[in-house]
Amino acid sequence: MSFAFWAVTALTVAGGLAAVTLKNLVHCALAVSVAFAGLAMLFLQLDAQFAGFAQILVYIGAVAILVVFAILLTRNADTPKEGGVFSRTWLAGLVVAAAVFAVLGWAVLAGAKGLPNEAAAPAVTVQQIGQALMGRYVLPLEIVALLLTSALIGAVIVAMHEAVNEKGGAK
């Protein structure tokens, strides 16, 4: 375990923790961007350059921006007046999350002996990934294209519903 791994891990976990604990929603969006960047760096450390840069493009470039837009459109970047930022059932949620972490950590540590120790870095080029996407994985690729198109249209329709009703008067 190298120093770079621990540094990036600390950055990622700190970003994730800040994202779920901070009061101001815009700060949460910034913190989750830090966590996404840390995950992209972990991908790069795992020699998955394509996935790492896709992570930066999709998550920091698109999802974080979408989250910021949603926060600004719903206009509640300020903290709620009463009751704090956590739900009434926060204790049960925390217990469930801790239990899930305990089970996952136990599973990993109990199976750590059977895990492969060191492997040579796989020599995979972007050209190979592109050929796999256009060859063996062409059907999933087309399905993802269809999914993204329908999600785009669906998101616009869901968010525009009120305006259509006002114009058409079909309430």
Partner: protein, 103 residues
């Protein structure tokens, strides 16, 4: 500790953080952020197993992670569109106040 176990533990920790965020926060947008963190933790597992698995040249885990990123992006777009529409309807994104199915 082998490197793979380290990555798996980090992914488990991130998954737990995302789950805690999704279960404890009151704001719907923060719940979506928690879900995104959980999906990312799963992607880290896929990439780590691809890297240390027996046949990385088959690209299976990598492809799974790339498709998972695409599906997560679609999910985020639709989820945030729903949050905006719910906010327009109920004038709040506080999940504790959205407790009626009839609106």
């Amino acid at each position: 500790m082998s490197p793979l176990a380290g990555y798996l533990l980090v992914a488990a920790l991130l998954f737990a953080i995302g789950l805690a965020g999704a279960l404890t926060r009151r704001n719907a947008i923060l719940v979506l952020i928690g879900i995104e963190l959980m999906l990312n933790a799963a992607n880290l597992n896929l990439i780590a197993f691809w890297r240390y698995g027996p046949h990385p040249e088959a690209l299976t885990g990598m492809m799974f992670a790339i498709f998972s990123i695409a599906v997560a992006a679609a999910e985020a777009a639709v989820g945030l569109g729903l949050v905006i529409q719910v906010h327009r309807h109920a004038k709040t994104t506080d999940l504790d106040q959205m407790n009626r199915m009839k609106g």
